[in-house]
Subunit: 232 residues, 2 copies
DNA sequence: TACTCGCCTTGATGTTTATCAAGTCTAAAG
DNA sequence: CTTTAGACTTGATAAACATCAAGGCGAGTA
């Protein structure tokens, strides 16, 4: 790793308050690498060799079975993925690919396990990450089992819509095809769902979304912190 | 806690290899209690006061939203639940009730966090539990998004069916209503799904299930370790 | 300007799942 | 043995979602 890369990496919140020894251990066999857009990073079923940390770009985490495929999550800077497989030294349950050109930090799985063992700060941080990921997944299961695809979409839009004023707007952070897989429908159904949200003041044009009145959309979407608040 | 209760509790795999101090800390404010069948234990949205460990009986973990409700998992002896909420000191995302008369161990949330901090063995065990729970949930999401309800049911039956001989049978471990919520369908659809599995050699009569030929059912269900093997 | 390739939309149709309304069965209580 | 309440099934119908097949639309290219 180049020296200026290393200083950026060491400054990550991930490594904050760690002892020198643990950080050195982690970075010893680490890679810091750029990847082009639309590149496969890992494949489900493979042994967990590295813990991946997103420095820059967007990563799609997905699973396939038979001829079907679905997006589990879309990650951005600061997120790490497949921690559970690394910690348990088992195979990946999910695949991952870059959605955009990305920069990633790869930490060797063995070093991660060893660092968790010798550095309580890092161990605690990884446990926190696991617990947060666990809760995110519980929310995802509830989202899938307790809502229709239209409600999921409405709540996704509310999550993206910034600010607290009645009218807000934002730009799609990725393809509609990816969003469809994320919400758990086919692209065709997503398209129709957009049309169904027009009566609630949602306008889509190209890559931008306009919400006329947050409260009106909320009345349909019925968001609840127990599913939609990522900090809870 | 009564002395003979305490000796049973201390012998739990959960506490194995822990230092005296950590065990004492955990058991200081702990409760060891029997609950009748069909009793609400915790409610989603409440602060996480205790970590629950199942000693005996069956616990249904479920979530509700608006007028809908769904079963997330059904737990048995040795399982613990709502660990993530306890570790992060946040509210429960799920509710839980007894399905049968049950015996539970309740460990105070603060003591659990403190024990994780001071006892590396316990900390590691809890992290392992979190990671395993995380992977179970990933499988659950894949199961929901990549399979139809009929495929989920077929795979659930294969999971329950013991042994390796072609013909096997078992008894439903809980109500069909609960199974329906677990699989993610209404009781009516579950009933119809049973009928749809007859051509694949599945016979239901009362509380017992007979699978004529494992291989035939497998050909339809297409199980994969990445979703169906709880140890992977 | 025309052209072309992806992406997205729209329409027609089929499958999967939910809902409502009877019914049947079963097991426990009288 | 009858009664009865709850669990389960079955039928009819509607909603949600997927699939297949065109078509539109916009960003890049010539």
């Amino acid at each position: 790793m180049r020296p200026d890369d290393e200083s950026e990496v060491v400054a990550l919140p991930l490594f904050k308050d760690m002892k020198e020894e643990g950080v050195r251990l982690l970075l010893k066999g680490a890679y810091h690498q750029r990847f082009p857009s639309r590149i496969d990073l890992i494949q489900q079923g493979q042994p967990a060799d590295f813990l991946y940390v997103v420095m820059e770009g967007q990563i799609e985490v997905f699973s396939s079975h038979r001829d079907r495929e679905t997006t589990v999550s879309v990650l951005g800077p600061g997120d790490c993925f497949i921690l559970a497989a690394v910690f348990l030294d088992q195979v990946y349950l999910k695949s991952a690919r870059t959605l955009t050109s990305s920069r990633l930090l790869l930490l060797p799985a063995g070093a991660v396990r060893e660092a968790m063992r010798i550095d309580p700060v890092f161990g605690h941080r990884m446990a926190t990450e696991l617990a947060r990921g666990f809760r995110l997944l519980v929310k995802e299961v509830n989202n899938l089992k307790l809502r229709t695809s239209l409600e999921r979409l409405a709540n996704w839009i509310l999550q993206q819509a910034p600010g607290s004023s009645p009218e807000t707007s934002f730009i799609f952070p990725f393809d509609k095809k990816t969003l469809a897989a994320r919400v758990g429908v086919t692209p065709e159904v997503l398209s129709r769902n957009f049309a169904s949200l027009i009566p609630y003041g949602v306008t889509i044009s190209g890559k931008s979304v306009i919400v006329k009145d947050r409260a009106v959309l909320e009345q349909f979407a019925r968001p609840t912190p127990l599913i939609d608040d990522p900090t809870v």
